[in-house]
Amino acid sequence: MPIKSYLAHPEEGQKEALIAALSKIDHCEVIPSENKDLLIVVTDTENKTDDEKVKESIETIESLKLLAMVSGFNTPKNN
C-alpha cells in the first residue's frame, strides 16, 4: 500500500495544463505549493504494480518537465 509524494516541475507556462492532466489520474492528488514554480503530488495506491502504473501515467504528461520523489511510505494491507 505505497504512499508517495513528489515535486512536479511543469514545462514553462504549462502549470495549469499540468494541474488539469494530473487531476485526471486516479489515486493521484495535486496540492498547490508555496513555491509557485512547483506542484506537489501525492499518490496513494493499493500495491507496487498500481504505484508503478500511476507513476508511469504521470511521467507521460507532456506538460511535465521533471518529477522528483520526496518521500515514500509503505503501509501494511488494510492500513
Binding site: 500500500m1 504512499i3 508517495k4 509524494s5 513528489y6 515535486l7 492528488e29 496540492i31 505549493s33 508555496e34 513555491n35 512547483l38 506537489i40 503530488v41 501525492v42 496513494d44 521533471l66 522528483a68 520523489m69 520526496v70 518521500s71 515514500g72 511510505f73 503501509t75 488494510n78 492500513n79
Partner: protein, 775 residues
Amino acid sequence: MQNSLTNRRNFLKKMAAAAAMTAAASMFPGIIFASEQDANLPKGGNLDWKKGPCRFCGVGCGILVGVDQGKAVAVKGDPNCEVNKGLLCVKGYHQIMCTQAKDRLTHALVKKNGRYVQTPLNEALDIVANKMKETIEKHGKDSVAMYTSGQSTIPEGYVASKLMKGAIGTNNLDCNARLCMASAVAGFLTTFGADEPMGCYEDIEYADYFITWGNNMAEMHPVLFSRMLEQKNRRGAKIIDFATRTTRSSTASNKSILFEPQTDLAVANAICYEIINNGWVNKSFVENHVNFSKGLTNMGYGVEDKYKFNDKPTKIDYEAYKKFLEDYTPEKVAKYSKVSVKDIKYLAAIYGDPNKKVVSYWCMGMNQHTRGTWMNNLVYNIHLLTGKISQPGNGPFSLTGQPSACGTAREVGTFTHKLPKGVVMNEKHRRLAAKIWKVPYENIPAKPTYHATEMFRAVDRGDIKFIWTQVTNPLVSLPKTSRYRPGMQKDSCFVVVSDVFPTPTSDVADVILPASWHIEKSGLYGNSERRTQHWDKMVEGPGETTPDAWMTIEIAKRMGYGDLFPYSEENHVEEIYKEYTQFHEGSKHGMAPLEVLKKESGVIWPYVEGKSTQWRFNAKYDPACSNDKDFHFYGKPDGKAVIWQRPYEPAAESPDAEYPFWLNTGRVIEHWHTGSMTRRIPVLHKAMPEAYVEFHPDDAKKLGVRNGEKIKVSSRRGSCILPASINERGLPTRGQVFVPFFDENMLINDVTLDAFCPISKEPDYKKCAVKVEKA
C-alpha cells in the same frame, strides 16, 4: 481498529505531503525555518520526538526526530538548540530518508572466490580478528592499520585509539579529518599551543564584519550563514567574501573579492603590512600576549613517498617581522594576487578599525592547502596584531566539515600522532593514556607512523597488509584515487570496510561489516564550537547492523584484549564516555557530565563548575586563565600566542602550456561529502543528480563549450568526463574549472594531486593543473 488504521494511513499521507511541501519551499536558499517545519507537520500525529545532533556537517545543528511505531518518520530543527535555533538545511531536514534505501548493508559480507557471501556477523568478526592477529604475528604490529572518521562518534574513536595504540601498540591509526581539518589543528597548536577555536557561534550576534576566507558558507554551512544573513538584515553587519570562485555566498555578501589560487598567503601578509604601516597595531595586546617566530621555508609538497618534514621554529623580534613584511606591500601583492590595492587596503582597514568587531571564518579553502598551516597562522597574525580575539564578536574561527571532526578526530585523537590528551611524542601524555587504559606504558609507541595519504601509499607499496576503514569512503575522497584504488585492490592487503551503504571503498573489501546508522545507536559528537552533543538510540537498525564501537570491542575481545574493553553492549557508550572524560579533567578542557548532556542540546567545553566557557583565553570568561592579566594563552608555556613569519610560496603544481587550467574541487549544498548518504535521498539526488565541471563563460566561449556538453578533465594523474556547467551554480575565475566531488560515477579525485602541507600533512584539493577537452 479499522478506524485507527485509516487514521494512520491518512496521517502517513499527510506526512508525505508535508515532506514535499517543505522540500518545495526549501529549493532555494536551502534553509527551512522552524515555523515552516511546524506548519507542514500533519495535525493529529502521535510522534515521539527524540533529540540529537544532525548526522551531516560540523555546524552541529540540533534535530528532533519524530518516531512513530519504532520508525523514524520526520525530522525538525530543535528550537532549544543554540546552534540552529530550529533552522535546518535541506540535507538535515531529509536525512532520515537515506535509511530507506534498498541497498542498505544489513548483514556482513565476506568475499569468497571473488563473490560476496552473506555471513553471520559473529563469523565475519572472527575472520577479521583472526586475520588481524595473523598479520601482526607474521609481519609485525605496524603491518595493520585503521582509518576512521570525523563522523565516528566519540566512543567509536576512543575504542579505535585504545585498541590500536594501547592494546596492539601501533600508531597506525589516522582518519579522514586529516583531509579536512589537520591544517586547522596544526595552525592552532603552533600559534596557541591548544587546539580548537577560542570563540563560539554566539560571535555572530556581536560581529560588525564577517570575513570568509575561501569558504562558501551558503552551501557548506548554510545554517550559520543564514544566522549571519539575519544579522546583516537586522543590524547592518557586513559579510565580505574572499575567494577564488563566485558562489552563492559571494552573491549574498556585501562584497566579493576574488584572488588568484595560493596567493591568499600574500594577501594575508599584505593586510598585516597595512595594519603595521597605518599604526593600527594594538600595542599593549602585542606587548603583553604575543611572541614572534619564524620557521623553515621551501619545505616541498610531500608528493614523494616517505616524505618527512619537521619545522624548526626560531624566535624573532617585532622589527624583524616588520622588515619581512616589506615584501608584501599592497602594490607588490596586487601584481600576482589579482586583488586590487584598493581591496587589500579595504580588508586591512576593516581589521584595523578598533571600533569594529570582526570574525574571520574559513574551512577547506584555507585548510586544504599545501601551506595550510601557514595560512591558518597568517589569519591568526591579523587577529593578534589587532587584539581582536577571544571576545564576543571578535575572533578567528575555523569551521569543521564533519559532525565530530572536533569531538572525535581532534579531542579523542584518532590521528597517528595523537592521544586522547596530547601527543604520542610526549612521555607525560603516553603515561596518562597508559594509566587510564590500564596498559603498560611501553605499549604506546613514541613515534607517529602514517598520516592518511602516506597510509594509503603504504597500502599500495605493500607495507600495510591489513586495513580497516570505518565511517569513511577513501576511494572517493582521497586525492589521486587513480593510485590508491589499484593499491587497495592488491592481494597484498586485506581490506575490511564498515559502512552503512555500499561504496567504491566497500567494492574492494575482503570483509564488509554492516554498521548502524546515526540514530540506530547511541553516541556523542563534538561540533566546531567545542559543543559536545549526546543522543540516545532512537530506532532499531535492520538485520545485523551493529554500532562501530561495539564491533571494535568485539574484535578486541577476540584478539585477547577483553580485559581492557570491559564494557557492556547495552551501556557501552556511557561507560566509554565516563572513562574518556578522565583525560580532560580540569578547567582547560573539562567536559560536561553525561547527565547534563542528556538534558541539553549540546554543551560547550571547557565546562567548569556547571558552566560552559564560551570565550577561551579571556580572563573575563575563562576560569583557566591564571596569569593575572586580561588574556592568557595558556596552551603555551609562557602564556603568549605566536605571530608567525610565513612567506608566500607557489602551489605544488600550477597551470602550464600542457595543462593550462587550475582545478578546484569542493561540495554542493545538496550532498554530503562522497554522496553515499545524500545520493540515496530522492529529493536531494533529483535536485543534484550528477557532478559537473564549471567554466568561466569566457573560457567556455573560447573553447566552444556549451552547457551540458561532455568534457574530459585530465591531469598528469588521470581523467574524468563530466557535463559542462556555465553560469549555473558557481562561477570560477578565468583559467580555473571547478568540480564537486560527491559523485562516485565521476571520480574527480582520479585527477587531483596528493601534495600536502608538510606540517599538517593535509592534502590540497583546491589547486592542481588540468587540461579540458570535449569528450
